[in-house]
């Protein structure tokens, strides 16, 4: 077995995060490639959530259905996911669930309940968990029933466990089941536990005891039928991080010194991680300090970041759609004042409050055009965790080299998922600050001598002015029409300069067949299902994926070379419109006739993208809308 998919489902707050992290680390320690997504409601606790994990012997980026293993930590998860398990897969539940019925689940949305009940009726399945299990068994699924409380009792007999820490032990049961069936040794699990429960040896010891007992039982009764082959290409070490953390690490490498933020999903976790790293101390070396500033609102977040950049610090703010909507006025001020700031923008389901904990890519045009008037900006986006880390450094470099505001566009799929990521090659990372000067007498901050004027920091040996009004070279207000033309052009023509100077590899990358018959086009998280899908289809088709990283300025000439009319062109995006297709049409005239769209807030899965491509190529369908996944 070289590729394993699993889901652990349960109510929020019950220990799922711990299970996901410990298992990711345990598999990671053995050299496997892991991606673990978290799906959850906009709720603190109680509503259904699940972790969807893929463990493989070589690189995989996306998730897929059906899954080989399901561990249910709640009755709701059983009903929600029973259709997701593969034939011959393993479906694990608590014996206490068996009698429970779907209509008694209060935390399930009524419309979801209706939909599931209808499905169950059509399949001829009764209302109770044990009816579900029987249905699955008839289809070849292996069901396992454990008494979770029985194991807790066993634990309570040996140790004095607190009833206020049940989540710490429930997570252990789920971990044990997965580890046993996949043949992961106890020591790897304990390493993961120790990291997650650091400083709490007592909890580690309790869990070790519990996990060992559950594993003994499972392996004794079922063996390890889901054991993976050894991993290919072993490395020495690997990072295990969420997307938020990957970006934070990139920013720290890139010299971030002031981060402002207002808490919002799915961005806040990046700033919370940075708050732990304010003092950059490694052994006895003092490498500096990052001010992480929680503001009173998003308007203060962007304006304070701009102020910090004016003073010369590498500054950024981190937000999502509703937050960026508030930041737009400030963003425009940064545009007219050529301020190097980075806005890290994690997209979520919109519009308005939308779906706070679900992902989307529907803010592309918003990021490209937000702000009245016209001014130069860079919009770059990342397709996976490794890219996100490196792009975070690039974002600062581009901001300062070209003196423009930069939007680093990401999404919830990357932000909240955990993955094994290679340690970045630090020798390849460079800090490029552009032209920073001391200034001196008669300093002109907006000197027309060059498109990018030498920049002095506030507090250096000069006096300068900034204003949101159109201004002269000193930064004083000017309504002179000749100056207006010169300043306006100076700013906007930076886009041409940026297009010339950014290397192709940072603009767009072609994966797969170099001379393809079919081309998938996308950006951001789409890279993950696209790369996996084209690999799945490479024996059947001559297929490639064009991954666009630089969205503003759009690399039209690069794109034109690849998106030839004689090829089957398919735009893929987590949105209704598939804005990347509209953008390419607008900027280069190329028409992308086929679209794959998904706007449920869940990620595009490898299997549904493969299916969509086949429908388009074989049945000539024009627009395929995907909707799998709860």
């Amino acid at each position: 077995m070289d590729d394993l998919l699993l889901i652990i489902g349960g109510p929020q707050g019950s220990g799922l995060e711990t299970s996901a992290i410990v298992l990711t680390r345990a598999f990671g320690e053995k050299g496997y490639n892991v991606v673990a997504d978290r799906e959850y409601h906009s709720n603190i606790r109680g509503r259904h959530s699940y972790t969807h994990m893929r463990i493989s012997v070589d690189e995989r980026y996306s998730l897929a259905f059906p899954v080989d293993l399901f561990v249910g930590m709640s009755v709701e998860s059983v009903f929600t996911h029973f259709m997701d398990i593969s034939e011959n897969g393993y479906f694990v539940v608590d014996t206490a669930f068996l009698e429970q019925r779907i209509d008694r689940i209060v935390s399930m949305e009524p419309s979801v309940k209706r939909r599931l009940r209808k499905q169950m009726q059509e399949l001829g399945v009764g209302d109770r968990v044990e009816d579900i299990l029987r249905f699955l068994e008839n289809r070849g699924v292996n069901t396992i029933k454990l008494s979770y409380v029985g194991y807790l009792r066993m634990l309570a007999k040996k140790y004095d466990i607190s009833p206020r820490r049940i989540s710490r032990y429930m997570s252990g049961i789920a971990i044990a089941v997965v580890a046993a069936l996949t043949g992961i040794d106890l020591e790897s699990v304990v390493d993961g536990l120790r990291a997650r429960l650091s400083g709490r040896e007592e909890l580690v010891e309790h869990n070790r005891y519990l996990i060992e007992r559950v594993m003994d039982y499972i392996q004794g009764s079922y063996g390890s039928p889901l054991k993976l082959d050894p991993p290919k290409k072993l490395k020495n070490e690997v990072l295990v991080v969420t997307g938020n953390e990957a970006v934070a690490i990139g920013k720290i490498l890139g010299g971030l010194r002031v981060q402002t933020y207002y808490p919002i999903t799915p961005a806040a976790d990046e700033s919370l991680y940075l708050e732990e790293k304010m003092l950059l101390k490694a052994n006895s070396k003092n490498l500096g300090g990052i001010v992480v500033f929680q503001t009173e609102d998003e308007i203060a977040a962007i304006t304070a970041a701009i102020g910090a950049a004016l003073a010369g610090a590498r500054a950024s703010t981190t937000t999502s759609g509703p937050g960026f909507s508030l930041m737009v006025e400030g963003f425009g001020w940064a545009g007219i004042n050529e301020v190097p700031i980075v806005v890290t923008y994690y997209q979520r389901g919109g519009p308005s409050t939308g779906m706070p904990t679900r992902g989307a890519q529907s803010d592309l045009f918003f990021a490209l055009y937000a702000g009245h008037g016209e001014f130069a900006r860079i919009v770059l986006s990342s397709g996976d965790h490794m890219e996100a880390l490196i792009d975070a450094v690039d974002a600062f470099n581009f901001a300062e080299r070209f003196q423009v505001p930069v939007i680093h566009l990401l999404d919830k799929f990357i932000a909240n998922s955990t993955a094994t990521v290679p340690i970045p090659d630090l020798s390849k990372i460079r800090i490029e600050r552009g032209s920073i000067v001391e200034g001196g007498v008669d300093y002109k901050r907006f000197s027309k001598d060059s498109i990018v004027s030498p920049r002095a920091k506030l507090g250096s040996n000069s006096i300068m002015w900034y204003t949101g009004d159109e201004h002269d070279e000193y930064g004083h207000i000017s309504e002179d029409p000749v100056n207006r033309i010169e300043m306006y052009e100076k700013r906007i023509r930076k886009m041409e300069l940026i297009d010339r100077e950014i290397p192709d590899a940072k603009k767009a990358v072609l994966y797969g067949d170099k001379n393809p018959n079919i081309v998938l086009i996308g950006w951001g998280y789409t890279k993950c299902p696209a790369i996996d899908a084209i690999r799945k289809l490479e024996d059947k088709y001559s297929i490639a994926y064009l991954h666009i990283k630089l969205l503003a300025p759009l690399p039209s000439s690069l794109i034109r070379g690849i998106l030839r009319e004689d090829r089957i062109l398919i735009g893929v995006e987590h949105s209704y419109e598939v804005q990347i297709a509209s953008l390419i049409r607008m900027k280069s005239g190329i028409h992308i006739p086929h679209l794959v769209a998904k706007y449920t807030g869940r990620p595009i899965y490898e299997n549904e993208l493969v299916d969509a491509v086949e429908r388009i190529v074989e049945n000539k369908e024009k627009r395929v809308v995907l909707s799998y996944g709860e």
Partner: protein, 321 residues
């Protein structure tokens, strides 16, 4: 930069109305800078939007003319990145107490070392004289078609409630008085508010020069007026805040100017950051080195391994499960 011979006003023609109170504020402000011997390259004036905001272009120091209501957060960002700069905010009453009220209060919670000079004229001048948050109910200035139907906020009271540690009021045409208050506010380590009563000749024909000069009296000339908190003692603080509050309510018959409340014992936001980052003041974020001589990140592989050790996993290669 040599500040003794420095000309503190720029050459730009000042386009305020000839009788505007802003001229007084401008003069008092630059005189204060001169007498304190400030370095103009290390001084930053941050303004919002409106007539008052243009002051940033008339003072020959760094000027950041920002967005309506947002001067304070811009100023906070500048100050956080380089706490060794002198940062002064000039803003109008509509700017700072209407659209910008959220930031006005937030600054008090933080006690960042920034001076707020509030140009309080009761109207939105540049947009034709609408009532501002400090115009009282029932007042009908010449530009209003009907008397104002909204009650006013009291900037002194809001500042006291928000945690400002230096709260004062002055008058645009008493340049000596305003200058001295500005000097003290700059020297105070913490958030300072100076509510400057400013006649607007274009639009406010009720709160005029004559109106103010008939009513103004100086707190420092009031016997037993002692606004300074001597000890970090909660009871003394409560007593002095309460007295300041009561003075702040005086308006119709007499209007006090001077220092209402001054507490030098509250730690500033910068000091709170210093507790987290000991070198914060000596080596502020704005000037820290972030790369080595070859242009690589200052975080090398060894430092990377230490900083992110909790996220790094060493792969164990033996495969007998």
């Amino acid at each position: 930069m040599e500040s003794r011979n420095h000309r503190w006003k720029t050459d730009l023609w000042i386009d305020w109305c000839p009788g505007c109170g802003n001229f007084g504020i401008l003069t008092a402000e630059v005189e204060a800078f001169k007498e304190l011997g400030l370095d103009p390259t290390k001084t930053v004036i941050v303004s919002g939007i409106g007539c008052s905001a243009k002051i940033a272009h008339y003072i020959n120091a760094n000027g950041v003319h920002t967005l309506h209501g947002r001067a304070i957060p811009f100023a906070m960002g500048i100050k956080l990145a380089n706490p060794n700069l002198v940062v002064v905010v000039n803003g109008g009453d509509g700017d700072l107490l209407g659209i910008g009220m959220g930031h006005f209060v937030a600054l008090g919670r933080r006690n960042l070392d920034i001076v707020i000079i509030l140009h309080n004229n009761g109207v939105y001048g540049l947009t034709k004289g609408q009532a501002s948050p400090t115009l009282r109910r029932g007042i009908k200035t010449k530009a209003l078609t009907k008397p104002n139907i909204q009650d006013a906020v009291n900037p002194i009271a809001v500042a006291l409630a928000s945690g400002y540690t230096f709260v004062a009021r002055s008058y645009a045409f008493d340049i000596e008085h305003l200058k001295e208050i500005i000097k003290k506010a700059i020297q105070h380590r913490g958030s300072a508010l100076i509510d400057v009563l400013q006649p607007c000749v274009a639009y406010n024909n009720v709160y005029t020069k004559e109106f103010y000069e008939k009513r103004i009296y100086k707190l420092e000339e009031t016997p037993d007026w002692d606004p300074i908190v001597k000890e970090p003692d909660p009871e003394e603080v409560e007593e002095k805040v309460s007295k300041a509050w009561i003075k702040a309510m005086e308006w119709e018959e007499k209007i006090p100017i001077g220092i209402f409340y001054w507490n030098p014992h509250v730690d500033s936001f910068e000091e709170r950051i210093k507790a987290e980052i000991p070198e914060y003041l000596a080596n502020p974020p704005a000037i820290q080195e972030i790369s080595d001589k070859e242009g690589r990140s200052i975080i090398d592989l060894e430092a990377f391994r230490v900083l992110f050790s909790k996220k790094i996993i060493h792969i164990k290669k033996n495969f007998q499960n």
